[in-house]
Symmetry: C2
Subunit: 194 residues, 2 copies
């Protein structure tokens, strides 16, 4: 056990915060906040979003075979948290926040005009895991705020969720270049290289 | 399309960086860096890790039905990047970095002594998605550096990967309290409440 202590079988890893867009049967746009999410394949490009069956969004995604992933910047932290607190069964959350739903170009789901990034996803697989059901969505398009330069700053906006303490964090400083900074170790070895 | 521009069907969302620990047939501990990862269920607590079949770790996980998730702090950014650059087929990556593998208490996979957080996972499902195969691991135990206070600072150490520009970022400042900051919107509505 060395220098560590056991915390048991819990969820305590920090995770991205995504806002999931969908339409209900009547065509009302809904948004809910999800953190049990991730990227899962490069070709075809796919993401996972896990939801409880009790969620309004669950039935919307099953019905329309589509959802969007909307990436909130910290400017929209209140709206993002609100989307996770109330249910679309009872409230028109977009009307309540004043944010604007726009129908996707490629899938039957709405994205948020004001958020910096939106990803249109087609439902390609569903897996029952226990309390949560995992939806696998194939990315049909990524839309980002028009920003100057090659870095697409919009894509760097993100909130991170700490499930243990229930806090949101923003992204910090650039720490290093991937597939690059580790070469210092490769180069220092006498065996050398790949 | 409003204020956004289409970037096409690409992977450009920022994602956590995890280091996946496994044993090969001979019992050699190996670590590889993965970013196509996520949390996917609360009960049982589960995570996803997606790998290409060409990866050494792929066969290790199939063979031992187990892996660990090791969370690097930015102090170990070089080692983390190195684990993603070279293959365990050719190199003993732990020996090269000087980091220490410790056998898990609950599963047949090694974790890194020096990293702040280690999660022991039992393989419970495998899903072919295309270029990547998704492994679903049930969390059997979380181990974190012994830190003072209730916040378990070790759990807040994380690197975030920007796949579009291939850069690592660290976690930034606390931005707000979840299930709390959004209540300002709920309370401001005349409909009131949930």
């Amino acid at each position: 056990m060395d220098n560590k202590e056991s915390l048991g079988a819990e969820i305590s890893l920090m995770t991205p915060v995504w806002v999931i867009g969908s339409y209900d049967k009547a065509g009302k746009a809904n948004m809910m906040t999800a953190a049990w999410v991730g990227i899962c394949c490069s070709k075809p490009p796919c993401v996972t979003v896990s939801l409880r069956k009790a969620r309004y969004t669950y039935h919307n995604i099953i019905g329309r075979k589509a959802f969007t992933v909307n990436i909130p910047s910290k400017n929209y932290i209140k709206e993002t948290d609100y989307f996770g607190i109330v249910s679309g069964k009872e409230v028109d959350k977009l009307a309540a926040t004043g944010l604007t739903p726009i129908k996707g170009d490629y899938v039957d789901a709405p994205y948020i005009k004001e958020f910096p990034v939106a990803v249109e996803c087609k439902l390609v697989n569903t897996l029952e895991l226990g309390l949560h059901t995992m939806f696998i969505g194939e990315i049909m398009d990524v839309k980002a705020d028009k920003t100057t330069g090659d870095n697409k700053e919009a894509l760097l906006n993100m909130l991170i969720y700490d499930p243990k303490n229930r806090n949101y964090y923003s992204v910090g400083e650039k720490s290093g270049k991937a597939f690059s900074i580790g070469k210092e170790i490769t180069n220092s070895q006498t065996e050398g290289g790949r």
